[in-house]
Assembly symmetry: C2
Homo-oligomer: 319 residues x 2
Amino acid sequence: MRKVLAFDLGGTKFAFGVVAEDGTVLGSGRVETLAQNGPDQAVKRVATAAHELLLKLNLKSSDLLGIGIASPGPLDIARGCVDGSPNLPGWTGYSIEGELSKAFGLPARIDNDTNAAALGEYLFGAGKGRKNLVYITISTGIGGGAIVDGRLMRGANGNAAELGHITLDIKGPACPCGGNGCFEMYASGTAIARRTREALAHGTTSSILSLAGKVENVTTHHVLQALAQNDPLAKKIWDETTEYLGRGLAVIIDVFNPEIIVVGGGVTAAGDVLFKPMREKALRYAFPRLAAVCSIVPAGLGGDVGVVGAAACAFEASR
Amino acid sequence: MRKVLAFDLGGTKFAFGVVAEDGTVLGSGRVETLAQNGPDQAVKRVATAAHELLLKLNLKSSDLLGIGIASPGPLDIARGCVDGSPNLPGWTGYSIEGELSKAFGLPARIDNDTNAAALGEYLFGAGKGRKNLVYITISTGIGGGAIVDGRLMRGANGNAAELGHITLDIKGPACPCGGNGCFEMYASGTAIARRTREALAHGTTSSILSLAGKVENVTTHHVLQALAQNDPLAKKIWDETTEYLGRGLAVIIDVFNPEIIVVGGGVTAAGDVLFKPMREKALRYAFPRLAAVCSIVPAGLGGDVGVVGAAACAFEASR
């Protein structure tokens, strides 16, 4: 079975693995990124660790098809590097793609991490074989990726599908992206916690507060715990959350006419209490003819999504 | 040079033409659609007229690569038909694609008219060769189409890129699509006229009124005439219009990361007075890294866009 080497770059950890063409992770590992020390030391250490993994798996570079790299955006894919990524200061202009390619003598391809995840879900995950697929992740922020007729939509410089920055309200608060009232300002995990803390700060009483200990500690998890106990504030916050998510997904349906939307990220741990109302609202607010053909499902890859997504990029590049 | 037969279906007219692979229209014509009389009579008459055109051009079906059809949406591309198109009552389920294919013994492909226009602008128009291109038309409504890495984004059932239904305000007025506060409810030609009439009905004095004669007659054209005379209401309406357009285009930039946005439709007759502020605002509200690589230009195909767009679909289908 064909295999690739995959790297999942983050501000804290730099994970890697060898992945087979059925999506199986044959071996994996991680090093500290130590992002503030610049890219060269991190790339060298991760390459050394990956070489050791290959030895352990009794593989040579020539047994591999290529290298896939999932990286936080924004990217400049023409140069194979990040381009002003806030968690990777000083990395702009350093060709992660070129250096890893050189280190293994293999073709390499870098993609935005959520785009890589979309491709992973298409090749190996919950949207396997669904040629028109949109992936979103709801966690600290909201990120996205789109598969259009079986191929990853990369965009002009590799930054397509910034779906967290779909507008919900042009008169809403300013977003660092340049817009106002972006989707992720209302519906990300961060936003859910912030809206809850604001309500508590305005004096609303709720069991969320006793669950969290103090207002500053409130997370989505506490909202969900309180929701299970029928706490009125938790119910209000959650209804608003699924409303915002439904609105954002409806725009995604109208823009992409996807067969499937795959939703991942920490907030999806909520399960049906999230998916049922989110799905119902998304399909209600979208064009009926487009809503009729779109399913909305939880992600399939879980914790492996980083490395498996990066591997998917390597498989796509080798086609 | 390779040639195709192209059909541009509308609620009133059914246009057709023979188009060469450089985009030249070698001959064209049109019949009345008489939409309310159903699809069969219209397709038969347009086929007869197109057969006559082929005779006149001294061409046989076998000299042609195939047939492209641009149609109002929504579509069901699997069945080759419209699917609940409001201006084509009773046409749902009738395979325009299949019938025209049969009439000429050629492969046929149907696409949504704004998607066809996007492909036309990519192959022959203002975005020639720009592989990541979004087209929007600002006229009665706002429609769109997207070219992703050199190929038309069709979506699951041919209805991708309903870009007039990007949300600007989820608390805005209800749209027949199912959403609220859609882009086209603020920035289409219809919306510009409606917003102006509302301001006049609220008693705002303006030279727009004397130009139009009466409130009910106001169109975008009168707003532009009054704008040229520095009319304060026209200025306010126009500033708001370019603000809405900038907001909508910024979302398009963040979603598609396009190299180019091609803007067509009647409202673009305004020229620089539209493009300058719209462009400036779109680039300001979008992600800087994505805005940096995106140009925003007027459409290149003008009145031929329908037939040339349909031809582009036939050329793409034959690849």
